[in-house]
């Protein structure tokens, strides 16, 4: 029973981080029809930014902040430079361009930071006793921060000024533009927010998984799967499927190998997507 509870909590940690990363992906897709194959590498860079912040300041909070701000800036620059000339093109073209961007980011990270995994120290080593079993406080903090950030983004999209504009552009780009919505500003904000969400996910998981240049590849496919299964561009659907996927993987790992558990959850999702074509979000 205790093992099940611990696994369920771990599933929540994986699921909520995945939800953060996938929400960024869903936002960029929902608003701009861009399939961002570089998203996993933005996640990876977030981890490196957190490592830099923590190494130079000694504070994890600063590391987290470095990741958010750094990724908002780097992500916006990288995505606008690559995709700027391609905005009117077929989604396949933007998808392939981001595939190239991801390769460049990954190899640059390898050249800059080297091939060894960077260890980011956990901000607090303390554990909490749950039913007599110690559970790292940091993981509970990740769960709390994840819920908070996803809630904030969701609320801002509902209530904020740019949130309204973003939803308007996602619904009908030309009409929104004709009614005076500043498209380039909305695009820049979507790139910045999407990259920052990937970056903060990378920063949050950095103390758990360590940071290396291919860490993003392990996140990319699950993030896409979640976005597709959640109903393309639907943030709520993506968040729900993320948590379910995290739980299946984590609880499944009690019985079978973790990779086999992930494969099993993928097979289930393939069947789900074939049966229910619009995903679970709608």
């Amino acid at each position: 029973m205790d093992a099940v509870l611990i696994a369920a909590l771990n599933g929540l940690v994986i699921g909520l981080t995945l939800a953060l990363v996938a929400s960024g992906l869903a936002l960029i897709f929902g608003v701009m029809d861009i399939v961002n194959f570089a998203h996993g590498d933005l996640y990876m860079l977030g981890g490196y930014f957190a490592w830099l912040g923590v190494t130079f300041s000694g504070s994890f909070a600063i590391g987290l902040l470095t990741a958010v701000v750094g990724m908002a800036v780097v992500g916006t620059i990288a995505l606008s430079a690559t995709l700027g000339p391609l905005l009117a093109r077929h989604p396949l073209h933007t998808a392939l361009a981001t595939l190239g961007l991801g390769m460049i980011l990954r190899e640059s990270a390898l050249r800059i930071f080297g091939g060894d995994a960077k260890v980011v120290n956990t901000p607090f080593d303390a554990g909490v006793l749950i039913f007599g079993l110690g559970y790292p406080l940091y993981r509970l903090a990740v769960i709390a921060i994840g819920v908070m950030l996803i809630g904030t983004v969701w609320l801002y999209l509902r209530r904020g000024r740019y949130g309204l504009w973003i939803r308007a552009v996602a619904q009908d780009r030309d009409m929104a533009s004709a009614l005076g919505v500043n498209l380039p500003a909305v695009y820049a904000i979507v790139f910045a927010a999407g990259s920052a969400m990937a970056g903060v996910g990378g920063a949050l998981l950095a103390p758990i998984t360590n940071v290396y240049h291919t860490v993003g590849l392990e996140m990319l496919l699950p993030a896409f799967v979640v976005v597709v299964a959640g109903g393309m561009g639907n943030l709520q659907g993506a968040a729900i499927v993320s948590v379910v996927l995290g739980e299946i993987e984590s609880l499944g790992s009690l019985l079978i190998k973790p990779t086999a558990a992930r494969t099993l959850s993928f097979v289930l999702l393939i069947v789900l997507l074939l049966v229910r074509r619009r995903g679970v979000g709608r």
């Binding site: 361009a97 961007l101 190899e107 496919l221 896409f224 799967v225 393309m232 990779t259 494969t263 097979v267």
Partner: protein, 309 residues
């Protein structure tokens, strides 16, 4: 010059290549197999708008089935080849189901998931696939009489014959009434449906043809390397072949084959002389998408037209 004369000259030049290439013949064989693999993806990618991002699933299925057939002594070279093609066609039926039930981004993700799932299965099912260690085929296989796969130039000629026939077949199919319907689906699926064509059936059939050719490439590759590992099924190879097709020029058949050959050579050279190729290939991909959506062949064709004027 008619294209057919050009093609005959090219095949003739390639046929005498082993006499000049010597020890490099094996590299030429490998290049031809990659060209065949890229050709098979172009049928889906460039003609049917089926953006298969998990094409290695076919290649790896063909390779594993062929290797397993020989490894367990069920059959020799030719039955291994046949088993490989049949195996990849089974995976092709699965992708055909994806094509029937999804399109666009969902199809991209479904095919990528399939490639990932098969890759992981090959890792996990160590009893069948040997897991990470893969399967080794130690003994040379008899092709005919006393000729075996150990004879480098014979195997090269065999692969050349297969690849050239595959290209001829693909051209024939694309120019046939069947191919015209496939192209019509690419241009406007709704209208093609309205004309009474069952577009799903056409998509499934072109997927099966693509799967068969990719599985053939996989089987030929396994017999050449005498080794097969899960990477043959994985997303890295799946992405690579997409890049070859795009850089070569999608929807041209010959373009993706040139793209595969050019990029494998360039990658190899960069690896040898610069200690890494990923940044260059990534940048090449972005530049191609932005400035040359027609790929290398598109560039050559427009240059050729300009010279004639």
């Amino acid at each position: 010059v008619k294209p057919t004369v050009g093609w005959t000259a090219l095949v003739a030049a390639l046929a005498v290549a082993p006499y000049l290439a010597g020890a490099w013949t094996d590299l030429l064989t490998e290049l031809l197999i990659w060209a065949l693999f890229a050709l098979s993806l172009d049928l889906m990618f460039g003609y049917a708008t089926l953006y298969n991002f998990g094409h290695a699933a076919f290649f790896g299925a063909g390779a594993y089935l062929a290797a397993l057939t020989v490894h367990h002594g069920v059959g020799g070279f030719w039955s291994g080849l046949l088993a490989g093609v049949l195996g990849s066609c089974v995976v092709g039926l699965c992708v055909g189901l994806f094509a029937a039930r999804s399109a666009g981004v969902v199809f991209i993700i479904l095919t990528a998931m399939l490639s990932y799932v098969l890759f992981t299965l090959a890792h996990v099912l160590t009893g069948v696939t040997g897991g990470e260690n893969g399967i080794y085929l130690f003994k040379p296989l008899v092709l005919w009489g006393d000729v075996t796969t150990a004879a480098g130039s014979t195997y090269y000629w065999l692969v050349l014959a297969v690849t050239a026939s595959a290209l001829a077949l693909a051209r024939r199919v694309i120019r046939s009434p069947f191919g015209h319907v496939v192209v019509a689906i690419r241009e406007n699926e709704g209208r093609t449906q309205a004309m009474g064509y069952n577009t799903t059936a056409f998509k499934v059939r072109i997927t099966l043809l693509s799967a068969a050719l990719a599985g053939l490439a996989g089987a030929l590759n396994a017999f050449m390397n005498k080794f097969i590992s899960p990477e043959a099924l994985g997303l890295t190879l799946s992405t690579q072949v997409v890049i070859w097709v795009l850089v070569g020029g999608m929807g041209t058949l010959a373009g993706p084959m040139m793209g595969a050959i050019a990029l494998v050579v360039v990658t190899d050279a960069l690896n040898r002389f610069m200690g890494g190729y990923v940044i260059v290939i990534g940048a090449l991909l972005i530049v191609t998408v932005i400035f040359l959506p027609g790929g290398i062949l598109g560039l050559l064709r427009s240059a050729g037209q300009r010279l004639r004027l």
